[in-house]
């Protein structure tokens, strides 16, 4: 939560607390005071009214007594001890009315209680024997107050006094009815009780006796049962606040007046009594609101005063965080925050200084290092110069070497050129030599099949075809030997299983062998190690040897055997043929040499086969030779070296 808000809330709470506490205390105090004051006021009013009332009654009782004394001789015939004629009495009484304005009626009762004479003639003859003013009045002055006169149909107060003759004998009762309004006047009359204050009398029967200030026609017609009246009728004097007879809360003071048998109550509405406080309460509320507003303003103002410098500081730290160490925070609040700002500034300037110092040291160090490097470089240069001498010497050697390399390169590229020339030569040679044979072999092979051909023609064509085939083989052989001799033949060296080649060859040559009725088989004695060679060419050799063997054998067998002999593999083709004469053996592997014997002229050799075989075998670092016995057979053998590792493995 922001500082401002915190401040405002704190202030508001505090202010509110104070206002409420103080307000409440004040309010309570004031209420009490007012109540006390009001009650005092009411009490004094009660006392006043009571006195006035009592005075009223006393006076009028006295007046009646006086009238009795003064008028007894007029009213009573002293000789007969009887009352005069009613007219006479009436006359006297009327006269007295004028002098006693409080009275509204005078009348005399006879000893039986009947109205003998009255200023109100209509009353004469009425029986009043039950009235206390008669029964009591016979004996002494009596005030009968606040009773309801049924005859008159109004509330009344009557005072009575015994009518005596000069010998103090009671002849009758003199009574006077008082103007009740006078009492009401006393009661209701202003007593400084404000708008809602009043005094009134309530009798033993809860009847209000005097008129109410506020409601008409209540006297002796309405009853009141308020708390005040209740308490008062129990004979108590007191005060309190309770609900008044008009159903509004009142403060009241009351007194029981035993002489009159009435309660005197003085009441005032609480609202009016406490009006001042209510005004005070309103003022307090307004004050509270005003204070709250003021506090808010104060709070905002104060918080600004505090947060502004703090925000300055925050901004400052932001700047520093971004890297700007020259930031300075300007705060002049004259309090701890200013101190904090000063410390902050100090801190950043310190940091800046140390940063700069560090940079300076760094630069110095760098310079030193540079210097060091320069020195070392110089050393190195000197040493290098020393080496230069020896270097130049080596350079010359190197130059010679590179020259030699160049020459080598040259010869190499020349060799390559030569090589490709050889390839081209071979290819072109092959192309030119073979091309004429293409249509020859092609067409001959077609035409021979022609069913419309005569047998003779067919035979001729067959001879031509076979000749062409022989020519084809010759061309192949010539090309082979020429490639082998010129080095244009490219061998594809692999790890070769000689036995496989032997088997394949033997397989291929089965049919020509069968044609001549000889057995062709291979003998394998043991597992042979692999040798490095060109499988196609080696197979060519084996096939050639087998072919020769078959050609020169009329009956018997041709056996091919392959075995290991020390560091080589030996393959031998043994036949049971005609053998080779001794003198022919050395020339066997020479180009175009063909063994001629009288026995076989129909061989189709080219004289190149063995030469080709020799070239191939020798290219494989092997040896090829023949052993033969004329008439018994020949054995052609060749060796192939085994790979060193293989050799070792197989002992």
């Amino acid at each position: 939560m922001k500082i401002g808000l915190k401040l405002i809330i704190s202030f508001e709470l505090l202010a509110l607390l104070v206002i409420v506490v103080v307000g409440y205390a004040l309010f309570a105090q004031a209420s009490e005071a007012i109540e006390e004051r009001t009650i005092a006021q009411l009490e004094s009013v009660v006392v006043l009214k009571e006195n006035r009332m009592n005075d009223f009654f006393k006076e009028n009782a006295e007046d009646l007594t006086n009238i009795q004394e003064e008028s007894s001789s007029l009213l009573i015939n002293q000789e007969s001890k009887k009352m005069n004629y009613p007219e006479d009495i009436r006359r006297v009484l009327n006269g007295k009315l004028g002098n006693n304005p409080d009275y509204i009626e005078f009348f005399v009762l006879d000893p039986d209680g009947n109205v003998y004479a009255s200023t109100n003639e209509a009353q004469e003859g009425k029986i009043k024997s039950n009235e206390p003013y008669f029964t009591e009045g016979k004996n002494e002055t009596f005030v009968q107050s606040f009773y309801y006169d049924s005859a008159l149909q109004q509330p009344a107060i009557t005072i009575s006094t015994p009518l005596k003759d000069n010998e103090e004998n009671v002849v009758g009762v003199l009574a006077g009815r008082l103007n009740l309004e006078k009492i009401s006047e006393i009661m209701v009359g202003m007593s400084g009780l404000g708008e809602t204050g009043e005094t009134y009398l309530v009798n033993k029967f809860n009847f209000i006796v005097t008129e109410s200030r506020f409601e008409k026609d209540m006297a002796l017609k309405e009853t009141i049962y308020t708390d005040g009246v209740k308490d008062c009728l129990e004979g108590n004097n007191g005060h309190g606040h309770y609900i008044g007879y008009r159903n509004s809360p009142v403060i009241g003071s009351y007194a029981w007046i035993p002489e009159r048998d009435v309660c005197l109550l003085a009441e005032i509405d609480q609202d009016e009594a406490f009006a001042p406080i209510n005004r005070l309460k309103d003022i307090m509320i307004l004050f509270g609101i005003g204070t709250a507003a003021g506090v808010s303003v104060l709070g905002i103002f104060l918080s600004r005063k505090i947060t502004n410098p703090i925000n300055e500081l925050i901004k400052g730290t932001e700047e520093v965080r971004k890297g700007d160490l020259s930031t300075r925070v300007n705060v002049r609040s004259g309090d701890e925050i200013e101190q904090l700002a000063i410390a902050f500034n100090q801190m950043t300037s310190d940091r800046k200084r140390s940063q700069e110092e560090l940079k300076k040291t760094e630069e110095e160090k760098r310079e030193e290092l540079g210097q060091l490097v320069k020195e070392r470089t110089q050393e190195i240069e000197e040493k290098t110069r020393a080496l230069e001498g020896s270097r130049l010497a080596t350079l010359n050697i190197l130059e010679d070497v590179s020259e030699a390399k160049d020459k080598l390169g040259q010869s190499y590229s020349e060799l390559k050129k030569l090589d490709s020339m050889k390839d081209d030569f071979v290819n072109i040679g092959a192309h030119e030599l073979k091309t004429p044979l293409i249509p020859v072999i092609g067409y001959l092979s077609m035409v021979i099949k022609d069913p419309g051909l005569s047998e003779g023609n067919r035979k001729k064509l067959e001879i031509a075809f076979k000749a062409a085939r022989r020519e084809e083989k010759l061309v192949k052989d010539v090309l082979d030997i020429s490639k082998l001799e010129s080095g244009a033949m490219k061998f594809e060296m692999e790890d070769v299983n000689i036995q496989d080649l032997v088997d394949r060859s033997v397989q291929e040559m089965q049919s020509p062998a069968k044609e001549r009725g000889i057995v062709l088989e291979s003998k394998s004695l043991q597992a042979l190690p692999k040798i490095r060679g060109d499988p196609q060419r080696l197979e060519q050799v084996i096939t050639n040897l087998i072919g020769n063997a078959i050609k020169f054998t009329d009956k018997g067998s041709v056996t091919v055997e392959a075995k290991q002999d020390g560091s080589v593999v030996v393959v031998s083709v043994k036949d049971t043929g005609i053998g080779i004469p001794k003198e022919a053996i050395p020339k066997l592997f020479v180009k175009f040499y063909q063994v001629e014997t009288t026995l076989s002229r129909n061989h189709e050799g080219t004289g190149l086969g063995l030469a080709i075989c020799r070239k191939i075998i020798e290219a494989h670092n092997g040896r090829i030779w023949v052993e033969s016995t004329l008439g018994q057979g020949s054995t052609f053998s060749f060796t192939l070296p085994i790979e060193k590792t293989e050799h070792l493995a197989n002992g």
Binding site: N427, A430, T435, I438, G442, E472, E492
Partner: protein, 121 residues
Amino acid sequence: MPKKIMVVDNEPDTVELVKAILEDKGYEVVKAYSGMECLRKVDAERPDLVLLDIMMPDLSGWDTYGRLRKKDQKIKVSFLSVIEISKERLDKLLQSGLSDYITKPFTADELVVRIRRILPG
């Protein structure tokens, strides 16, 4: 539908020979006397097989084959050449999609048998 074979060779005799042999066996033959001519004609003719000589003056059989293969991955080609090639080279060519390598000279039967193997049915 008869199978169509394009024969490419700068040697007219060879071309005529192949045509004679194959037409005799019911094939349709289209002639081309150079690599360029072959490439020109091949899209229009859409042969089932191209028989390609290698040693030709303008565009060698190798190059022609390369271009044919680039143009159409599926076209069937067989070399028809006097040159014998190494096993290694042959394997590589077969892997690249070459159908066969027939050496010259050949008999009529040899040619037909090889072609029947390439174009069954």
